[in-house]
């Protein structure tokens, strides 16, 4: 059985010379829910963008056993559902329906199947009935849910989320946490929300300065206050 995600010795530098990733290794097994934490600038977003091939440099990334390369990029993108931090970047179509249908349409699904996927995805995030709404009329919490639906509609192997609770009021945040708890997909979530981490994720990876400095039990991590402080984190 292949790991859902496997990253081997990943290095990445930006064009301006800044070294964002310095030899990252990790793997995620099917069904796991893993948190990624670290201070700003540690390389979290950069790492996530490697998982579906938007960025690539040195090292190897495997998704469901297949290496992420030009030839496999289409399947990779269908398997890795990446949800960005700012939902407005992700909701670029005129209506909610169009945005959720975007992925399935590009995957080549016939029209009836597209509609089915959209219904299922919106239902899963509890946004059924919002199909004809324009994205700029939605609240922040609703946008985040629809953004997740846009990716769920592609039926991915793993959901990768970048800061899902950022910018949400307490009620919307609670709703989103419950949603993430209920979704069955394998998950890899980058976040600053340490309370959500302790609530939802058994395993946490800590990245700092482009390197993985911890990969293990969340409970163990959160009890080591010195370590947390060293890497710009706080206990819940």
């Amino acid at each position: 059985m292949h790991h859902t995600i496997e990253v081997k010795d990943l290095h990445f530098s930006y064009p301006d010379g800044h070294q964002a990733l310095c030899g990252v290794n990790l793997y995620i097994s099917p069904g796991e829910k893993v948190a990624l934490v670290g201070p700003n600038g540690a390389g979290k977003s950069t790492l996530l963008l490697h998982l579906n091939g938007i960025l690539h440099d040195h090292g190897e990334v495997f998704v469901c056993g297949k290496p992420v390369r030009k030839e496999t990029i289409g399947e990779v993108r269908a398997s890795v559902g990446l949800v960005f931090e700012d939902p407005d970047d992700q909701l670029f179509s005129p209506t909610v329906f169009d945005d959720v249908a975007f992925g399935p349409i590009y995957m080549g699904m016939p029209e009836w199947e597209v509609r089915g996927s959209v219904d299922d995805a919106l239902g899963a995030v509890d946004m059924g009935g919002f199909e004809s709404r324009a994205s700029h009329h939605l609240s922040n919490g609703e946008k985040k849910r629809v953004a997740i639906a846009t990716v769920l509609a592609m039926d991915p192997e793993i959901l990768v989320l970048d800061e899902p609770t950022s910018g949400l009021d307490p009620r919307s945040r609670r709703g989103l946490i419950n949603l993430l708890r209920d979704l069955p997909q394998t998950m890899f979530v980058s976040t600053h929300d340490i309370n959500m981490v302790s609530e939802l994720f058994e395993r946490t990876i800590v990245i700092d300065g482009g390197e993985i400095v911890f990969d293990g039990s969340t409970k163990g991590l959160l009890s080591d206050e010195i370590f947390l402080e060293q890497h710009g984190l706080e206990a819940p």
Binding site: G53, H56, K70, I73, F92
Partner: protein, 320 residues
């Protein structure tokens, strides 16, 4: 609710004659077609999200104004800025998107006359701005100050050219005699153009300071040589138009000619024979000749510009 700045160059329906409007649409569609194709080569898959967002930027930037005098304010049209940063063909596409939306959604600018609105505020401003920018830099040098000066002059001239073109279109339609319209448009927009120039230069200054790579990209966009040809073409058209009866000092110039010639008759261009048994009211044949000359000249210029654009452009390959 959002309030956005006023514009002086959006011509509403009714102010240009049918014939003039149709010509405008034909030329505009050609320009748009070329712009779409060349920017596809230039930008690849990034074309639509990039052009779309930059169009939103121009639309919103037109709201950023600054006080000039006694309650009036200077603001941006944006054609020159878009062209300096992205190249004139991308600017054409961007400005077209803005102008179509302003006309269609907000009724700022008519639908039948939209062809000329697109040409005046999109194509002419973009190409004038770009061509002058390139020219000034070639004359003065490649330094940072020369960039600002080049952007300043390019933006100012772009507004002037747009305004002058509008004056000619109004004259050719019989709405406003040239001896009145041209000085009025040219002088008012000489002032408005200053606002454009200052803001454009200010924007270029900021880009130069924080992200100079962006400016370098614009300087290698397709349209560099095409822009020079377009400018020459516009000058030729201008010269032709000046020597036509449109610019007659006789106060009754255009109308006098209209009275004398009456409706179109058999002595007229075959162009209008395409519409048998149906005369287009109030188009004197001298005006028709001028329009025809401008159209043919512009078509030749577009053709050359497009041909040059195709041979010098590099196809962008996307990493993944």
């Amino acid at each position: 609710m959002m309030w956005l700045a006023p514009h002086a160059l959006h011509v509403p329906d009714g102010f240009l004659s049918t014939a003039v409007s149709v010509v405008g649409w034909v030329l505009a569609l050609i320009a748009i077609g070329i712009a779409v194709r060349l920017t596809r080569y230039q930008l690849g898959e990034r074309q639509i999200p990039l052009m779309g967002l930059l169009a939103a930027f121009i639309f919103a930037a037109q709201a950023i104004n600054f006080p000039v005098a006694a309650g009036t304010s200077g603001h941006l049209l944006g054609g020159a800025l878009a062209a300096i940063v992205m190249g004139p063909w991308a600017a054409t596409l961007i400005m077209t998107a803005v102008i179509v939306t302003q006309g269609l959604l907000f009724q700022d600018g008519g639908l039948l006359v939209m062809g000329w609105n697109i040409l005046n505020m999109g194509v002419f401003t973009a190409f004038t701005g770009y061509a002058v920018y390139v020219l000034v830099r070639r004359l003065v040098g490649e330094g940072r100050r020369s960039r600002l000066a080049a952007a300043f002059v390019g933006a100012w001239l772009s507004v002037e050219v747009g305004a002058i073109a509008t004056a000619f279109e109004l004259a050719a339609s019989g709405t406003s005699p040239l001896y009145l319209g041209l000085p009025a448009m040219a002088s008012v927009h000489a002032l408005i153009g200053l606002g454009e120039a200052i803001i454009t230069a200010g924007a270029i200054a900021l880009l130069q300071a924080s992200r100079p790579q962006v400016l370098e990209a614009g300087e290698t966009a397709p349209g560099r040589k095409g822009a020079s040809f377009m400018m020459i073409g516009l000058m030729v058209a201008l010269v032709v138009a000046i020597f036509s009866p449109l610019a007659s000092q006789n106060p009754d110039g255009l109308e006098f000619v209209a009275e004398r010639e009456g409706f179109l008759d058999r002595s007229l261009e075959p162009l209008f024979e395409l519409l048998p048994d149906y005369s287009i009211p109030f188009v004197p044949n001298e005006v028709a000749t001028t329009i025809l000359a401008v159209v043919i000249g512009t078509l030749i210029v577009f053709g050359i510009a497009w041909a040059i654009g195709r041979t010098t452009v590099r196809k962008e390959t996307i990493g993944e």
